[in-house]
Symmetry: C2
Subunit: 201 residues, 2 copies
Amino acid sequence: MARRSATQVADSRAQTLDAAVELASVIGLEGLTIGRLAEQLEMSKSGLVGRFGSKEELQLAVLELAADAFRHAVYEPAAAQPSGFTRLTAICDAWITYLRDPPFSGGCFLTTASVEFDARPGPVNAAVKAVMRRWLGVLEREATAAIEQGELAPDTDPSDIAFTINALAVGANCHYQLHHDPRALTRARHAMARVLAPSSA
Amino acid sequence: MARRSATQVADSRAQTLDAAVELASVIGLEGLTIGRLAEQLEMSKSGLVGRFGSKEELQLAVLELAADAFRHAVYEPAAAQPSGFTRLTAICDAWITYLRDPPFSGGCFLTTASVEFDARPGPVNAAVKAVMRRWLGVLEREATAAIEQGELAPDTDPSDIAFTINALAVGANCHYQLHHDPRALTRARHAMARVLAPSSA
DNA sequence: CCTACCGATCGGTAGG
DNA sequence: CCTACCGATCGGTAGG
């Protein structure tokens, strides 16, 4: 006879996290404070602490949700495409769309968190690293498939493809968030296409 | 009969700023607090406030110093080279060197500040934008010279070159700061070279 | 440049 | 989930 069912608890947690990730995308994962989030949700600080345990656990939960949203927006649409060049192209398309109209108003959350925590050792730093490595691994896997299928030159380095596509997306996000110039997104998309194009015409 | 000469005042201000920019490169420009900086410099908070007026003015001074350091490390060595392709190449070389061994331990300060302040309106946001625009303008000017000298294809868009080179540097900095993998730097350098290579072989 | 202090906010706990 | 509270720290001021 619990006062709230497991589903209700999960729902309230999910709603809390939605607000937290939106707030953190604007003011940063470290700038996110329990007090400010509580005020926005019109609840007490201790209520929030009860749901997550500590600020660090809240940060980890926010990061996990943001990573899910990224995969949902960028990877899942492309997963329907055949592996290799076709799927890589679909990933780039979805990625640019995601950068243009991100699910949280502060732009790509993973880029923000990466810059914010690259010099702060701890569990959040480790989690950011893990998410980024996993994503680069996906890109690398698709690049390898493209090479095997003869869609990329046989001497191509899959890690090189993964790094460069990711760097262009990160750079485009930073430029677009700062200057709000959509040309950054089309320029990044074209540069991605050149990375995936056969090196000789 | 001033107790401290203008030179002494300028020196103490410069030493304070050196410590501030080093600290801010690690914990961020917003995370930089007067109290923590004062403690590190073994002086009182009010002494620091007296030098800069407010935290925001301190942030602006730190940003200005960081921009000077960037230009000193990346632009000045290349300025000795002839304008156009040669100078762009020298800029890319110096840039990668700067990313590998940055003057402040937190990596490229401008990238950090850009991500941190892209959604925080105010004077610091405006200053970051101005620094970035100015730098992109330098890259664009050199790309234009390269086109005029026939070193880049005549239908090349100078803004496109500037954006892409910058995005690769930003992406490389983020990757290198997070994973400490120097291959990110050589990969970025190679991608920059492809951007500057004639599009057909 | 200092000490002493201001009100606000931080993350978190006690107790219910 | 709440109120009430803890010690620490925030940016900054008063007064010297």
